[in-house]
């Protein structure tokens, strides 16, 4: 085990590590992987190869399009039956495993605890599964009387020619409730990311705009790309409520389909996870003129910044004052905890490889504690999540992205918010930034190692090289990394802890880092006799 590197004068150049990683690969693979591994230099523009196919045989963190569609965007919504059309497994594995907390009122619908599947059998594969799907929808309707049903396709569905969209249309007409389908077969894209896009399209087409409800608040917003893992959304809801900001709908933590139906009556969209949800934000702007801003409520400083941004957008003196009051009060609480924990964890090293936004957002939390991020990357992001939205026009659309539908959105003449467009133009002229996601790389130190779609071999090597104090990833990586003696914090499921969002969440996270980094248990791995020489005793039992 190499000793810890000296980081006093910045991070060490990891070129040697990169070369060693690549050496193991067959040349063709090495040539591809090297483009996804960038030694960061914030002073120059660098390109990361992202959102490309994983090489077959590589042990990747990634999941599939279906996971991104069913699991991420609609999984957390409680008042819809999400019916999975396919063999049993896909639905089984997505059953409650993502920790999207939800808080239905007494008597309100909640289907999150249920798992629905058509459980396709070989006869359905051979003769088609549409009839079974129809019957399953009918049965679901009769038993549960839901207000909406979403139909999700898994791998075999597209291949055998089942048309979930036409079935959904027919059943919608027959049953008189909202029913819509998603062509989110696992192979549609190179990762979950394609599924996010498909889900965004489906929700925008079939849900958003169904209810032009009258205003209920002075400052109406939506929260996009927040999934209420570990109760994050509850923290944010409380925060907005206190500030006097009306949260119409959330996509999709602690959400309802009902609320998404009137989400287009908002004055502003806040985008948290840029990767998974920017499509809806963009489409809402095109259709209804609602501007969007990137926010980040992970980290106390970031939370304060994001709150101020929203208050500045509305420009209301009362709101601004209220927000300042909250920030001052909450930061005092946060700092009280921080001062006691920071000295214990400062200077430690972290690395994080998750999702499409958390590997960036969580760096803020670590920074607040003085913990350095030496290496990071996303599981299924695109170049803009690394390099910023400015590179979007230069991203090549490859064969894998081309088959995901780009909706043509037209302006809704009746509901289009010219007032917001004017407001946006005015604010922009004063330097206020909309759609301003600069990506992960500018925020990372020189010489930090950026790795897209990190795989098992690379993970092993990274640990060997950096000896990090904490590694952040998901469940599949958790025990691999821990077996190597390094604690792993799951940033998908939060290891069943949290919330970590907003001020209260920051405090929770600091305490969690204190727990993980200050424990002595890792030092007890070696038994006290490990280095003693072997004795053969005189009282040995003869076998």
């Amino acid at each position: 085990m190499p000793n810890k590197k000296d980081y006093t004068n910045g991070l060490p150049d990891p070129s040697a590590l990169r070369d060693e990683i690549l050496k193991k690969y067959p040349p063709k693979i090495a040539k591809k992987r090297v483009k996804g591994m960038v030694i960061n230099d914030p002073s120059v523009e660098q390109e990361v190869m992202a959102n490309v196919r994983t090489i077959p045989g590589i042990i990747t963190q990634r999941g599939c399009t279906y996971a991104g569609c069913k699991g991420v965007v609609l999984g957390p919504t409680r008042d819809i039956i999400n019916l999975v059309h396919g063999p049993i497994g896909c639905s089984f594995y997505a059953w409650l495993t993502r920790r999207n907390q939800t808080r239905p009122a007494e008597g309100e619908d909640n289907y999150i605890t249920y798992c629905f599947s058509t459980d396709m059998q070989d006869s359905n594969i051979v003769f088609g599964g549409e009839a079974k799907l129809k019957e399953a929808i009918r049965e679901a309707f009769e038993i549960f009387k839901p207000k909406a049903i979403g139909v999700f396709s898994t791998c075999p569905v597209g291949l055998i020619g089942d048309d979930v969209h036409s079935v959904s249309r027919d059943m919608k007409a027959e049953l008189g409730i909202n029913i819509f389908g998603f062509s989110c077969e696992g192979y549609r894209g190179v990762s979950q990311s394609a599924g996010h896009h498909i889900a965004n399209n489906g929700v925008f087409k079939n849900v958003v705009g169904l209810n032009d409800r009258a205003r209920t608040g002075k400052f109406q917003v939506n929260m996009l790309g927040e999934y209420n893992i570990g109760g994050d959304a509850f923290e944010l809801e409380a925060l907005f409520e206190e500030a006097g900001i009306t949260l119409l709908s959330s996509f999709s933590g602690n959400s309802t389909i009902k609320s998404m139906e009137y989400s287009h009556t908002a004055d502003l969209n806040m985008v948290m996870c840029h990767r998974s949800i920017n499509y809806i934000a963009e489409m809402m702007e095109e259709k209804y003129g609602i501007p969007w801003v990137k926010v980040n409520f992970i980290g106390a400083e970031s939370t304060a910044k994001s709150l101020r941004k929203v208050a500045d957008y509305f420009g209301d003196a009362g709101l601004k004052a209220k927000v300042e009051e909250i920030i001052e009060r909450e930061l005092a609480k946060v700092n009280a905890v921080k001062v006691s924990i920071k000295p214990k964890v400062e200077g430690k090293l972290a690395m994080m490889f998750v999702g499409g936004s958390r590997a960036h957002h969580y760096q803020d939390l670590f920074n607040e504690l003085g913990i350095r991020t030496v290496s990071a990357g996303y599981e299924f992001a695109h170049r803009d999540d690394y390099e910023g939205r400015k590179v979007i026009p230069t991203i090549k659309i490859d064969a894998d992205s081309r088959n995901i539908e780009e909706l043509t959105v037209t302006k809704d003449e009746k509901l289009f918010r010219n007032d917001l467009v004017a407001k946006k133009a005015d604010l922009e002229s004063k330097g206020f930034e909309f759609k301003d996601y600069a990506g992960m790389m500018p925020d990372m130190a020189k010489n930090s190692l950026i790795i897209d779609d990190v795989n098992h071999w690379e993970t092993e090597k990274l640990i060997e090289f950096y000896k990090p104090d904490v590694f952040c990833a998901g469940i599949k990586e958790k025990y691999v990394v821990q077996k190597a003696g390094v604690p792993l914090k799951q940033l998908h499921s939060y290891d069943y802890g949290g919330p970590y969002a907003a001020f209260g969440g920051a405090i929770n996270f600091y305490i969690e880092m204190e727990r993980m980094l200050a424990t002595n248990i890792w030092k007890m791995i070696d038994a006290p006799w490990k280095h003693e020489s072997e004795l053969v005793g005189s009282m040995t039992i003869e076998a």
């Binding site: 990747t60 990634r62 594995y93 629905f116 359905n124 894209g189 098992h456 821990q482 077996k483 190597a484």
Partner: protein, 460 residues
């Protein structure tokens, strides 16, 4: 209420499964392959399946679960996955260096019609399989059977590929294990030792999915059935399969290809199934049963007689896999409990007859169902209609248990909210003791927590 839409009115369903009591084939194939030493499971399909199966097994074991995927994209699903698998085999041997790659298919590759056999031959012909390394394949379409079927198919693939018949018989038996925990595999090995019978256990996930913390990650932990052991299975005197669903195929294959006769018995859960197992072993190994085994049996019976009053007449609902719950139900009946509701998503016609055999006289009111729509939703509806005192099954039961306030014992797959299942065996007489202990603890905890204060007992 967590499951607020479940009511007692049962409406017949023919198409909709709600809250399944089964999952899909590949996860079983993956689990079986992890019980072979130096083996890397490989999922031939798109990434999601592999990611889901690894996650499910990881949550259950809290251990590394390594497996690779063919990472299909739209192109592979149109043109077939051959190129992906060839590339995967090359990549895996170069980067991860296993002894064996155990390929299983998925819904996707099966629907496309990829012929694994032919692709693997091609890989060999093209020199993508290094000398002394192996690629084994099993077809595991998830629209047939369940996770148990996948396990059975992978076991069959291993013996088909490796077992070799030479001229010399070996004085050993093949112990084909059904889907049980690493601790159970360890217990099986202990019993074999006590019985003084030489055996090859396949698969063997002990020392693979229960490894110690050493500060060093081992991609291929020390456990698992070795290649040499699998090869030798063709010369064994007999095969003993534990659980019809999981092991019959492999046992038949060994008989067909290597003329190793077989017997299928239940997984040794509880008294009678363990009795049959021990007797089958004694017969196969031509040994008499050691006193130690009889003593263990006696201890189990002793505890049941001591605590009989707490068990007698208790109504139980059970869900899980046929191989595991058939002997469990028998055990519950032997303890005078009343297993009244039983579901298993795994199809198979013997389930009904086995249940009838065990239950028709002793628990005539019992309802049981397996296969399509035999799901936890149905079981919960039955419970709503007429409550039970105890629920036994995988972690998903906790939602039912909380809503209905039923003491709950976790058994089966997956158990993702408690530990212990991978470390403490529930097989054999000693394992039976653990089952009794677990059942008593939850029943008595409920009594302690809810009885009237004046009825609160110090001694129980």
């Amino acid at each position: 209420m967590l499951l607020r839409h479940t009511t007692k009115e049962v409406r017949e369903r023919n198409a909709l499964t709600v809250n399944p009591a089964k999952t899909c084939q590949p996860v079983g194939a993956m689990y079986a392959a992890l019980g072979v030493h130096g083996c890397l499971p490989h999922s031939h399909g798109s990434q999601g399946c592999c990611s889901y199966h690894r996650s499910a097994l990881t949550r259950h074991y809290k251990e590394p679960v390594m497996a690779a995927t063919s990472s299909f994209t739209e192109g592979s699903s149109v043109f077939g996955g051959q190129a992906n698998l060839l590339q995967a085999i090359e990549t895996i041997f170069a980067v991860y260096e296993p002894e064996i790659i155990a390929v299983h298919s998925t819904c996707l590759s099966e629907t496309i019609g990829d012929d694994l056999n032919q692709i693997v031959i091609k890989a060999r012909d093209e020199g993508k399989v290094p000398f002394g390394k192996y690629v084994v394949q099993a077809a595991t379409p998830s629209y047939v059977g369940s996770h148990v079927t996948g396990y059975a198919n992978m076991l069959e693939a291993f013996v088909k590929y490796f077992a070799e018949k030479t001229d010399e018989k070996r004085r050993q038996i093949n112990l084909l294990s059904g889907w049980v925990e690493p601790a159970d595999m360890r217990e099986l090995k202990r019993i074999m030792k006590v019985m003084k019978i030489k055996s090859v256990l396949l698969p063997d996930t002990s020392d693979v999915l229960d490894t110690p913390m050493t500060g060093k990650f081992e991609m291929y932990p020390k456990g698992g059935t070795t290649i040499a052991e699998m090869v030798s299975m063709g010369d064994s005197m007999q095969s003993l399969g534990l659980g019809e669903w999981a092991t019959e195929k492999a046992a038949i294959s060994l008989d067909n290809t290597c003329r190793v006769p077989f017997e299928i018995t239940d997984i040794p859960v509880g008294i009678k199934a363990t009795d049959r197992f021990i007797q089958a072993l004694a017969k196969a190994g031509r040994v008499s049963i050691p006193e130690q085994i009889s003593e263990e049996r006696g201890r189990l019976i002793d505890v049941i007689t001591d605590m009989h009053q707490y068990l007698y007449g208790k109504r139980v609902a059970v869900y899980g896999d046929p191989d595991n719950i058939i002997p469990l139900i028998e055990f519950l009946v032997d303890m005078d409990m009343q297993p009244v509701y039983i579901v298993s998503g795994t199809p198979g016609k013997h389930f009904e007859s086995r249940m009838a055999e065990i239950l028709s006289e002793r628990v005539p009111e019992a309802k049981y169902k397996n296969g399509p729509q035999a799901d936890m939703f149905l079981m919960h509806q039955w419970i709503k209609e007429n409550p039970v005192d105890l629920l036994i099954g995988n972690t998903y039961g906790k939602y039912v248990a909380r809503d209905e306030n039923i003491p709950f014992v976790r058994m089966g797959f997956p158990i993702i909210d408690r530990i212990g299942h991978s470390y403490f065996s529930t097989l054999g007489y000693m394992g039976g003791l653990r089952i009794v202990e677990k059942i008593l603890s939850v029943l008595m905890d409920k009594q302690d927590a809810t009885c009237l204060e004046e009825k609160f007992e110090l001694v129980m």
